[in-house]
Structures are given as structure tokens and as C-alpha cells.
């Protein structure tokens, strides 16, 4: 059994509960054990870093230190949390004075940020640690009749100086996972593009235009569904889909799945069990 500390993203505890729920169904099947970090706090969602860079360093040093205390790597299932926590880690590792200042405060909780735990995405654990061959061997319901559009989202790819797992111009990990589950990936120009989530409340029209472009390409390519490793991308592409497509004068719809749900389906769990019925488009 491979053990990891599991970071609980705010959105997965509120709007996209189905992510953690579906992981709970299949983690043991793939020889994984995710220990949930109930003490973890919000990473700052790509905002705290400029509101207060020092608080940003503190909260994320603490998030990582909680995993380090258990001697485990920190696994994240939201792209923005991944990018945010990795950005903080890079800053802390490169700035000894900041690391010291943060550690002097963390002492109060008996914690220390050392920089020994890696911060990784669930998708990377599946492809790199579990391995495609093991996943293939565990599949009971191959997704063989499905044409699937892989939507990576931004913060699992960019900035590449912080992420570094996939080539941001030609990412492949999600495509590989789809194929290991027996599905067919379709050529998808928008695979490494933006969903518009981070400006939904500030520049809604622009955000919806950004989302509509990706949805339109997947619809025109006759994909059966879009799959994304990010619950924020999912929220836009699923929750705001009707609004985005209406704005772009497109009369159609397309389901959007989380990677955790796609894995669950191929391992034999039902759409109802995995929470797919809770999507706005299904």
C-alpha cells in the first residue's frame, strides 16, 4: 500500500464533494492510502500570494509541514491548490530567511517546514506511482466506446518552472490515463488552455467566453465527455456551461467528468456511487 497525505481543497468540501467521495471508493483498489489532512487550511487560491506574501508562505509551509510530520508526500486534487502550494514551497526553499521566519512561528504548533515532502497532483500519482500497466490490469469496465476530450487546465502545467511534470505545450499524462482506462482521447486544441475560473466573479463575460471556446471545440469534435484533473475547471465547464454556451449562441451541451470519476467508472463503480448524477450537465 502506498501512503500519502491528502490535502483537502476548499472546493472539494463544498461544491465538488464528488471528487473526494469517488477517490474513497477506489483508492484501495489501486493500492493507495490517502490520509486526509483535516488540519490543513486554504492554500490562498492563487490570491493570498499577492494579498500578503508572508501569510501565503506561512499557511502553505504549514500545509506541507503537516505532511512532513507524517513522513509522507502531499497529494492535491485541485490544480490551483497544487500550483499555489508548490509556488510557496519553491519560495521557501529558495529563501532561507523566509523559511526561518516561518519556522519560528510554526514552532508554536510543534511543526517545522524542512522541504522534504513533495507536493504532487493526484493525476501524477496515478500515472507515475501506480503506473499505467497496473491501472490497465485493474480495469473492469473499459471506457472503450467513449471519445474523451482531455482538458488539463492551467495550473497543472503553468508556470512550468513550478509544475514541470508535463510539457505545457504538449501535455500527455491525462491522455495516457484515458488510454490506460480503455478510452479514446481526441485531438483537443484546448487541452492546455484556460477555463476562465479565476475571473468568474470579476470579469464574468470574458471568463465565459474563454470557457465557451473549449466547450465548443469538444462539442464540434463529437466528444462524449470532457475530463479534467481540476475541480475549478469542472465548476466552470459544468456549472457555468449553460450560461457560457448561451452567451456564445451555441445550443448544445457536453458532460464534464473529474479524473476521479473516470477512474471509478473504469474500475466498475456506478455513476450514482461516484456522484456523477450531481453534476449540472449529465
Amino acid at each position: 500500500m502506498k501512503r500519502y497525505a491528502y490535502y483537502m481543497s476548499c472546493i472539494n468540501e463544498s461544491m465538488t464533494k464528488e471528487v473526494d467521495r469517488s477517490i474513497d471508493f477506489w483508492q484501495k483498489d489501486l493500492g493507495l492510502e490517502f490520509v486526509k489532512l483535516h488540519e490543513g487550511t486554504c492554500c490562498g487560491g492563487s490570491n493570498l500570494d499577492y494579498v500578503s506574501p508572508k501569510h501565503f508562505a506561512l499557511v502553505n509551509a504549514r500545509n506541507i509541514a503537516l505532511a512532513e510530520k507524517m513522513g509522507l508526500d502531499l497529494i492535491v486534487s485541485c490544480n490551483t491548490c497544487l500550483m499555489t502550494i508548490r509556488t510557496a514551497k519553491k519560495k521557501l526553499d529558495e529563501t532561507p530567511a523566509l523559511k526561518k521566519e516561518v519556522n519560528d512561528i510554526l514552532k508554536k504548533e510543534g511543526l517545522e517546514y524542512r522541504g522534504t515532502s513533495e507536493v504532487r497532483h493526484l493525476l501524477w500519482v496515478l500515472v507515475d506511482d501506480v503506473g499505467l500497466d497496473t491501472i490497465k490490469a485493474k480495469v473492469t469496465v473499459p471506457l472503450k466506446n467513449y471519445r474523451i476530450a482531455p482538458f488539463y487546465g492551467c495550473h497543472i502545467l503553468r508556470p512550468s518552472t513550478v509544475l514541470g511534470r508535463d510539457n505545457p505545450l504538449a501535455p500527455s499524462s491525462l491522455d495516457q490515463l484515458i488510454e490506460a482506462l480503455g478510452g479514446q482521447t481526441i485531438p483537443f486544441e484546448h487541452k492546455n488552455r484556460c477555463c476562465g475560473f479565476h475571473t468568474l466573479l470579476v470579469a464574468e463575460e470574458e471568463s465565459l467566453n474563454v470557457a465557451a471556446e473549449a466547450l465548443e471545440e469538444a462539442i464540434n469534435a463529437k466528444a462524449d465527455f470532457i475530463v479534467t484533473p481540476c475541480p475549478l475547471c469542472h465548476t466552470v465547464l459544468d456549472g457555468y456551461q449553460a450560461k457560457a454556451l448561451k452567451q456564445a449562441h451555441i445550443e448544445n451541451s457536453i458532460p464534464v467528468f473529474h479524473i476521479s470519476e473516470m477512474v471509478g467508472l473504469a474500475l466498475g463503480y456506478t455513476a450514482k456511487q461516484l456522484g456523477i448524477k450531481r453534476h449540472i450537465v449529465c
Partner: protein
């Protein structure tokens, strides 16, 4: 018999490819975007196949095509050394300088083997073929006053010198590397969605001017930057930074403008500022984001009801609404977390006092 002949042909072809590769020379097709708005009703692509040597750049290939194959092909270029920023274009779908793009490297990125696609930069009007109109970008540079308006009175000019500390210089050193190639402009997600958006190159330049102690119009520039289509409309996609031919951390500059806006104009100044500040409040209070009230805190009740009510109804039916504030469970160990968070607030206060004294 047929299959034997095919096999021989196949080997002949393979030998030719291997020979070419060893010689460092091979036939490459450039599929180039063509459009002359004065003549053509719509854009089209022309294929040019030339024999290219290892080490040749995309720009040299285009020069060869213009000189020897098709003199009507139009593109901008000057220094051929990655300094002037004139030859920005999209090569195999990515905005970059053609003069620093190696044909051999691009061959690995082709969607169709052996065919390099060359297109003009996006989000800018096309003048002809690969030449785009830079005027909208220049106009935005003007709108956001992206020049130094000196703090030194005119009478003292030339008599006194400006002393810039090393620490200050490092704050904008990297930003001054920008050669205005507009690759970031072409890659920007929001500009693609709305041409009014300020754009990353303009934000970078505004940052560079705003951190310069010799400049006197910081507040005028900042007031413009926080308006609609300004700094808060950036969606953090990092495409600008990723495509920057000079590896400038453009997002850091954008974040710095936002940090400056929060400090100088206050957290309640704009919806963008209110949205950002909400993260800080929630983390201190609960360690978790209170998503249910985020739209109201960002844009007020009226906006939220008008824009989000139909979607909220759907979410209620599907049981995916975020919990109301009292039901958001604080992170485990929140008391000690809060104490540490507030201790850091004291550090930040001290830092501000020190920097203001300076």
C-alpha cells in the same frame, strides 16, 4: 512481386532519410498563413518546401522563401538575433520569435510530420500575411501612461543625478528585458475574450514604471490600472509568462500591481480587490474559504441575485451549493492556527513600518 518492390522502395526512402539526417539537411515544408485584406476575401495557407540545413532558423527559412520562391510573402524582421522583437509570430501554434526558433527543434513539434505551421500573432489586427498591427498595443501603452514622468523639476535636469539603489534596480531589472515582441499579448486568454483588456505586456510595463522611484505619476497610472479591463481581469493562466521569449516572470509583475493596489487604494476599492481580500479574511477566520458568500462580498447582493440566481437554483436541485457560513467547519486546530496567522500579521506590520522609515 509487388510487395518486394514496395520493400525495395521503402528501404530506398529510409536510406535517403537517414542520409539526409546524417548530412544535417532535409526537405521541410512551411505551411504559411496568407492574407492580404485588400485583395483576399479570407485567409488561406501556402505550402513552401525547401531544403533546410541543421542549425537554420525559421526566420532564415522565411527569408529564403521570400528571396527564392515567393517575393510576395510578407513578414517583419530586423536583428535576427532575438534582440529587437520584430519577428514575433506563431510557429507550430506557439507565439515566439522566428529568429530564435530552430527548424530542427520545430520539426519535433509538428502536428503533421515534416510540416511547420507559421501564423501571425493572435488578438491583433492583421495588416498582411504574418504582419500584425502593433498600434492597439501602443495605444494601450499610452492609455496607461507607460513612461517615466520625472520627479525632478525641469530646472534641475542635467545638473543633478538620480541615484538608484541596487535593491530598487533589482525590482525592475527583469521587467526591462521586455522587447515588446507581443508573444504574451498573442497568448493571453483574456485578451482573446475581450480586445479591451489591458494585456500582459502593458501590465508588465506599468509595473516597471510604478516601482521606479524617479517616476512621479504612480497614482495616476494605478488609478487607470484598477478600472474595468485592467489588472483585476487577469485570470492567472500564466500563458504570458510561459511564452515570454525573455523568461520574464510577468505574473509576478501583475501580482505586484495588485498588491500595490490593495495597499494604496484599500481592499474595498474594486470588486477584484474585495474578492482577493476575502481569501485573507476567510483563512484567518476559519482556515477555509467561505464560498457561499464570496459572490456577495465581491459584487454585492444585487449583482449576485441578477447573475447567479438561476444557476444557484440548479445547484440547489443537484445538492452542490456551498454551505452557508455557519456550516463551514473550521480547519482542525484553528485556534493555534489563528494565533500563528496573527503573529505573522505583526511581522508584516513591522515590515511596513521599516520600509516607510526608509
Amino acid at each position: 512481386m509487388n510487395s518486394r518492390k514496395e520493400l525495395i522502395n521503402h528501404f530506398a526512402l529510409m536510406t535517403e532519410i537517414i542520409d539526409q539526417h546524417q548530412e544535417g539537411k532535409r526537405d521541410v515544408t512551411f505551411r504559411v498563413f496568407r492574407f492580404n485584406p485588400q485583395v483576399d476575401s479570407k485567409p488561406y495557407f501556402d505550402d513552401y518546401t525547401i531544403s533546410a540545413e541543421r542549425g537554420i532558423t525559421v526566420l532564415r527559412s522565411l527569408n529564403y522563401i521570400k528571396e527564392h520562391v515567393d517575393p510576395s510573402l510578407s513578414f517583419r524582421a530586423f536583428c535576427q538575433a532575438g534582440i529587437c522583437g520584430s519577428c514575433g509570430m506563431r510557429v507550430n501554434g506557439t507565439s515566439k520569435l522566428s529568429c530564435t526558433s530552430q527548424v530542427w527543434d520545430e520539426l519535433d513539434k509538428c502536428r503533421e510530420p515534416g510540416i511547420i505551421k507559421v501564423e501571425p500573432l493572435r488578438s491583433m489586427p492583421i495588416i498582411k500575411d504574418l504582419i500584425v498591427d502593433m498600434d492597439p498595443l501602443v495605444d494601450k501603452m499610452k492609455r496607461y501612461s507607460n513612461w517615466i514622468d520625472s520627479t525632478m523639476p525641469l530646472a534641475e535636469m542635467g545638473k543633478k543625478e538620480f541615484l538608484v539603489s541596487e535593491e530598487e534596480f533589482h525590482r525592475y531589472d527583469k521587467a526591462t528585458d521586455c522587447i515588446l515582441c507581443a508573444s504574451c499579448v498573442s497568448e493571453c486568454s483574456i485578451l482573446r475574450a475581450n480586445k479591451e483588456y489591458v494585456s500582459p505586456a502593458v501590465l508588465l510595463k506599468s509595473y516597471r514604471m510604478n516601482v521606479d522611484s524617479r517616476d512621479s505619476i504612480h497614482d495616476v497610472r494605478l488609478a487607470e490600472l484598477v478600472k474595468d479591463h485592467g489588472v483585476w481581469d487577469c485570470t492567472h493562466c500564466y500563458r504570458c509568462q510561459e511564452s515570454c521569449v525573455k523568461s520574464i516572470p510577468i505574473m509576478e509583475a501583475i501580482h505586484s500591481i495588485r498588491e500595490d493596489a490593495l495597499e494604496c487604494r484599500g481592499p474595498k476599492d474594486t470588486s477584484g480587490a474585495k474578492h482577493a481580500e476575502a481569501f485573507m479574511e476567510d483563512i484567518e477566520k476559519k482556515g477555509k474559504l467561505v464560498e457561499a458568500t464570496l459572490p456577495i462580498r465581491t459584487n454585492g447582493v444585487v449583482w449576485t441575485l441578477r447573475n447567479l440566481l438561476p444557476m444557484a437554483m440548479k445547484m440547489i436541485v443537484k445538492r452542490r451549493t456551498p454551505p452557508p457560513p455557519p456550516l463551514v467547519k473550521p480547519a482542525k486546530g484553528i485556534k493555534i492556527f489563528r494565533a500563528m496567522f496573527r503573529e505573522m500579521s505583526e511581522h508584516v506590520k513591522q515590515d511596513h513600518l521599516k520600509s516607510h522609515k526608509k
